[in-house]
C-alpha cells in the first residue's frame, strides 16, 4: 500500500481554488430560461386565488405556473417517494390549493432572464382562506405518538423495548439525577443554495425529451428516480449530473422542490430551465426537528449506573413521520439492565424534518452526556472516571452484541493527556483567566459504522490510465481523493495515472452520500472492481504468447508500480499498459458490485467512538461563551487520508460548537414562520468564533466492518462536542444549562 493512509492532497483541490469547479446552477447552456419561486405566506389553509396575470404581462415572462395550470404528474404517493422518504405521503409542489406549511412554493415564474423572473414573481398576488395552525411542539407534547415504520426505519431503528424496571431501580438508587432538554429546530444552510439546471435535449420519436439535469443533491440516482417516477419518464431520458456539491449536511438527501419545478417547467415549455432558491427559501423545507428530552439516571455511590431512562419527543410534519435515532445511543454507550428508552413524534403544521449532520446523535448525545456530567458531580467523581466505571463492551440496543471494535478507552486516555485534563480543579467557578471564568468539560460520542451495497466501474485505457467511476457524491467529504487512493493502491498504479469520477447517473449505482457510510460503502466497491479488473488483466496476461505468468495462479501475483508481478519472483513483471495492449486496441473494463458480508458482520455492533475535551471562557458580564480550545480523540477504524480526515473532524467540531452555542431557527408561532431566515440572523460560526481545535485519531483495527476496515468520519466529530461544551460552561459558571443553544441570555438569567 502506497497511498492509503497518506495525507494525499485533494485531487479536486485545483478546481476548487481556481473557480473551475462547476456547481448545479453554474452550467450555462444556450437559450436557458430562469424560474423564480413564489413562496406562500400562510401556514395552513387554502389558496382562494392567485393573480398571476400582471406577472405574465411583463416582457420576457414565458409562463407562470401555479396549482391551477401545472402539468399533469403522477397520481400515487409511491411515485413521489424518494430513497430517503420517511413513511407517509410526500409533499407535492403545486399539487392543489391546499397550504400545508409556511413558505410552501405556490407558483413558479419562468422568464428569459433571472432578473425578469424575480421581478415578475414579486407581482403575483394571492388570497387565502386561513385555518388555525399548530406549530409549537411545547403545546403538543402530550399528543405525541409512536412513529409509523417503513423502509427508512431499517437504517434508523426505533428504540428497543424497555428492559427490567427502570422506575423501580431509579427509586431505589442511592444517587440519581433528572434532566430536561429542549433543542430548537435548525436548518442545514449549505453555502450553495439549492438549484437545478435542466438541459432540454432532443426528443425521441414519441416526443419524449432527453433531459440532462444538473442538480444539487447528495445522490444523483435519487434525483433521477424521483423525476422519472413523477413525470413518467424512462430512466434513459433522465440523466442527473452532480460532480460538485456546495455542501449538503443532509439537505441533499432528498430531492428538493426546485428540482421538481425545474423539470416540470422544462417539460411543459420544451425549454432549458434553471431554478435556484433564495437563502430565505432555504428555510422552507427539511430541517433538524425541535426535540424535547428527559433523562433520568440512577447510580450507586461508587458510580455504577443502576437505572437509565431517556425519552425524546420530536416534531414532524402532518404528512410524513420523520424519525431519527435520538435515545438509542444511550443504550449503546451504557449497558444497564434496568433501562427504558422511548421516542415519540408529534405532527405539526411544518415541513417534514430531514436528516441534518449527525441526526439524532448530536441531540441524544448532548442529553445523556450532560446528564452523566451532572451525575459525576452528584457523586463527587471525575467525569472520565464515571464513564470508565460504566464502560460497556456490548451494545444493549442490539441484544448485547459485542462491538466489532471499540477503542473508546484510548480516546479518553489520549484525549485527556493531550488536553491536560489531570490538572483540572473539579470545583465549579474555580478556574479564571483574567476577567473571564474558565471551564473544562468532556463528553463521549458514538455514531454508526454502516456499509451498504454499491457498484463501481474500472477502466484501464490503452494509454495505461485507470478510470474508476461510481454514481456517489463528494459533498466536500473527500470522496474523489480517497477513492483515487484506494484504486491506485489496489492496482499498484501511480496516483497521477488514476482518475475517479462520480455524481452522474450514467455511472454504476451507489447510495446517496450520508450517514458517514460513503468511505466504507463506495470504498469497498472501488476496491472490489479494481480487484476484479486485476483478475481480468491477469487472465489476459496469462494467455499472451510466451507469458511469464503462463503457469501462475491469481493469488501468486500482485500489482506494484504500474506492473503485474510474481510475488515469489518480483523480477517477473508485465507492465499494465502492455497487458492492455493485448486486448486488441481496446480498453479493459469491469463493473462490480460490493455487498456487505452479513455472515461476518451480523454478530457485531459496528460503531465509531470519540471523546471530546473542551475549554470555554465565559464572560459573566456579557454572558458570552467562547470555546478557546478543544481536543477530539476519534476511534474510527482505518484512516484513509489523515489530511481530509482531519478536515472532516475539524468541520464536525465546528458544527458541534455551532450546535451548542449558535444555531437556532426561531419560529414565530403566531404566524408559523421562521423569523431568522437569513444568514445574518441564523447564527453560524465565523472565523472569529473558532480557536484552537485539535484532532487525535486513535489507532483502531477492525477486520469486521468491511474489507477496508473503514468506519466513516462525517458525523463522529460533531457528537461529543455540544455536551462537552455545556459541561465546560457548568464548570466555568456553576450553572447547568440543559437547553441548546447556550446563548448569552441563558447564561445571564
Amino acid at each position: 500500500m502506497t497511498y492509503i493512509g497518506q495525507p494525499v492532497k485533494r485531487v479536486d483541490g485545483n478546481d476548487k481554488v481556481t473557480g473551475k469547479a462547476k456547481y448545479a446552477a453554474e452550467v450555462n447552456i444556450p437559450d436557458l430560461t430562469y424560474g423564480y419561486v413564489v413562496s406562500g405566506t400562510i401556514t395552513k389553509g387554502t389558496i382562494l386565488d392567485i393573480d398571476e396575470w400582471t406577472a405574465r404581462a411583463v416582457p420576457g415572462v414565458i409562463e407562470a405556473f401555479t396549482h391551477k395550470n401545472r402539468p399533469h404528474t403522477a397520481w400515487f404517493d409511491l411515485n413521489y417517494k424518494d430513497q430517503d422518504a420517511p413513511p407517509g405521503s410526500p409533499f407535492r409542489p403545486l399539487q392543489d390549493a391546499e397550504v400545508k406549511y409556511n413558505g410552501q412554493p405556490i407558483a413558479l415564474v419562468v422568464a428569459e432572464t433571472f432578473e425578469v423572473a424575480r421581478y415578475a414573481a414579486s407581482l403575483i398576488t394571492v388570497s387565502y382562506a386561513e385555518k388555525p395552525h399548530e406549530t409549537n411542539l411545547d403545546d403538543h407534547l402530550a399528543e405525541a405518538r409512536d412513529p409509523k415504520t417503513g423502509l427508512a426505519t431499517l437504517l434508523k431503528p426505533l428504540p428497543p423495548k424497555p428492559c427490567g424496571n427502570a422506575d423501580a431501580a431509579l427509586a431505589a438508587a442511592p444517587v440519581s439525577i433528572r434532566t430536561h432538554h429542549v433543542h430548537g429546530p435548525q436548518h442545514h444552510n449549505p453555502m450553495e443554495m439549492f438549484g437545478t439546471t435542466v438541459d432540454y435535449g432532443k426528443e425521441d420519436k414519441d416526443g419524449t425529451p432527453y433531459l440532462t439535469i444538473y442538480d444539487k443533491t447528495q445522490g444523483a440516482p435519487n434525483s433521477q428516480l424521483y423525476m422519472a417516477q413523477i413525470f413518467g419518464l424512462p430512466f434513459s431520458h433522465v440523466r442527473v449530473i452532480s460532480p460538485y456539491v456546495g455542501g449538503g449536511f443532509g439537505s441533499g438527501l432528498r430531492p428538493q422542490y426546485q428540482l421538481f419545478l425545474a423539470v416540470m417547467a422544462a417539460k411543459a415549455l420544451k425549454r432549458s430551465v434553471r431554478v435556484t432558491l433564495t437563502r430565505q427559501q432555504m428555510f422552507t423545507f427539511g430541517h433538524r426537528p425541535q426535540t424535547v428530552q428527559n433523562v433520568s439516571l440512577g447510580a450507586t455511590p461508587d458510580g455504577t449506573l443502576t437505572a437509565v431512562k431517556h425519552d425524546a419527543t420530536a416534531a414532524t410534519s402532518q404528512f410524513e413521520d420523520y424519525t431519527e435515532v435520538v435515545v438509542n445511543w444511550t443504550g449503546m454507550l451504557y449497558d444497564v439492565p434496568d433501562t427504558t428508552l422511548a421516542y415519540k413524534i408529534s405532527p405539526l403544521d411544518i415541513y417534514s424534518p430531514l436528516d441534518m449532520r449527525t441526526p439524532g446523535g448530536v441531540t441524544g448525545g448532548h442529553a445523556i452526556e450532560t446528564a452523566m456530567d451532572a451525575l459525576a458531580y452528584e457523586l463527587g467523581m471525575d467525569p472520565v472516571e464515571l464513564r470508565l466505571k460504566n464502560y460497556s463492551e456490548k451494545d444493549w440496543t442490539e441484544d448485547n452484541k459485542p462491538f466489532s471494535s471499540k477503542e473508546l478507552r484510548e480516546c479518553f486516555r489520549q484525549g485527556a493527556e493531550r488536553f491536560g485534563w489531570s490538572t483540572r480543579n473539579a470545583e465549579p467557578r474555580s478556574m479564571r483567566r483574567e476577567h473571564t471564568l474558565m471551564g473544562w468539560g468532556m463528553a463521549t460520542g458514538i455514531w454508526d459504522a454502516n456499509c451498504l451495497p454499491a457498484r463501481a466501474e474500472a477502466v484501464l485505457t490503452v494509454n495505461g490510465k485507470l478510470r474508476v467511476s461510481s454514481a456517489t457524491a463528494d459533498i466536500g467529504t473527500g470522496t474523489y481523493t480517497i477513492m483515487t487512493q484506494i484504486a491506485a493502491d489496489t492496482l499498484g498504479m501511480p496516483i497521477e495515472d488514476v482518475i475517479f469520477k462520480l455524481g452522474d447517473t450514467d455511472m454504476p449505482l451507489a447510495p446517496f452520500q450520508g450517514g458517514s457510510f460513503t468511505a466504507a460503502t463506495v470504498g469497498s466497491a472501488v476496491k472490489q472492481v479494481c480487484d476484479d479488473l486485476g483478475k481480468k488483466l491477469f487472465k489476459l496476461a496469462r494467455k499472451a504468447p510466451k507469458s511469464p505468468f503462463h503457469d501462475a495462479d491469481w493469488d501468486e501475483v500482485n500489482f506494484v508500480d504500474g506492473q503485474m508481478r510474481l510475488k515469489k519472483d518480483p523480477a517477473v513483471t508485465m507492465a499494465l499498459i502492455d497487458i492492455v495492449a493485448l486486448n486488441g486496441g481496446r480498453a479493459v473494463s469491469e463493473t462490480s458490485t460490493s455487498l456487505p458480508n452479513p455472515l461476518k458482520t451480523a454478530k457485531f455492533s459496528k460503531h465509531t467512538h470519540s471523546a471530546a475535551f473542551v475549554e470555554v471562557e465565559v464572560d459573566e458580564d456579557l454572558g458570552t461563551v467562547t470555546v478557546t480550545r478543544a481536543v477530539s480523540a476519534i476511534a474510527a477504524g482505518r484512516i484513509l487520508n489523515p489530511r481530509t480526515a482531519r478536515s472532516q473532524i475539524i468541520g464536525g467540531m465546528v458544527w458541534g460548537i455551532s450546535h451548542a452555542l449558535h444555531e437556532d431557527s426561531k419560529m414565530d408561532h403566531r404566524y408559523g414562520r421562521f423569523m431568522n431566515q437569513n444568514l445574518a440572523e441564523y447564527h453560524m460560526p465565523v472565523a472569529a468564533d473558532i480557536h484552537n481545535l485539535d484532532v487525535i485519531f486513535v489507532e483502531e483495527h477492525d477486520e469486521i466492518v468491511n474489507p477496508l476496515g473503514v468506519k466513516g468520519l462525517g458525523e463522529i466529530g460533531v457528537v461529543a462536542m455540544p455536551a462537552a461544551i455545556a459541561n465546560a460552561v457548568f464548570h466555568a459558571t456553576g450553572k447547568r444549562i440543559y437547553d441548546l443553544p447556550i446563548t448569552l441570555d441563558r447564561v445571564l438569567y
Binding site: 492532497k9 485533494r10 479536486d12 483541490g13 485545483n14 476548487k16 481554488v17 481556481t18 473557480g19 469547479a21 456547481y23 453554474e26 450555462n28 400582471t54 411583463v58 416582457p59 420576457g60 432572464t113 433571472f114 432578473e115 421581478y119 414579486s122 407581482l123 398576488t125 444552510n189 449549505p190 453555502m191 450553495e192 443554495m193 460538485y244 456539491v245 456546495g246 455542501g247 449538503g248 433564495t278 437563502r279 459533498i475 466536500g476 467529504t477 489530511r643 481530509t644 482531519r646 478536515s647 472532516q648 475539524i650 468541520g651 464536525g652 465546528v654 458544527w655 455551532s658 437569513n678 444568514l679 445574518a680 453560524m684 460560526p685 465565523v686 472565523a687 472569529a688 473558532i690 481545535l693
Partner: protein, 170 residues
Amino acid sequence: MEDAKLVASPVPFIEPGIVRLTVNGQIKTLQIAPWTTLLDALRKYANLTGTKKGCDHGQCGACTVLVNGTRINACLTLAVMHDDHEITTIEGLANGNELHPLQTAFVDHDAFQCGYCTPGQICSAVGLMNEGHAKTAADVREGMSGNICRCGAYPHIIDAVMEVMQKEKP
C-alpha cells in the same frame, strides 16, 4: 388596501443596455439591464461562475471579488456601477497554470471541503492582505469573518492565510 394595488402595478420594463466591465484584465461587453447585480453579471452574462452566490444579501461573503484591489460583496452592487473599474475574480488570480500563493496554500492546508465558499475566501484574503492591517492570527480571524464556511474549515483557512502573509512580509 391601497398598498397592495401599488405593488401590483408593474414598473415600466427596464431595457437592457451595454455595460463594459474590465474583468481579470479583459474587457467584457455585456448587454444587461441596469438592475443586474455585479454577481449575476459575472456568473451568468460573463460566464465567470467562480464567484459564488451564497445568500444574495451580503451576509455570507461567497461572492467576494476585488474591485480596484478592494474586496467587496458582488451581490450588493450593480454591474453598471463598475464601468471603469478593474475587477478581479477567482479566475484571474492564477498566472496561467501557476497558482496564486493563496490558492496553493489553500490546497496545501486543505482549507476547504465543499469548495463553495473558497473563491470568496481567497479573494477576501487577497483583499485583507492588500489592506495591510492584519498582523496576527487573531487579526486574520477577525478580518476573514465576513466569509462563512459552513464546512467549518476555519482553522485551516487561517493557517493558509498566515503562511502566505508571513512569507510575503517585507
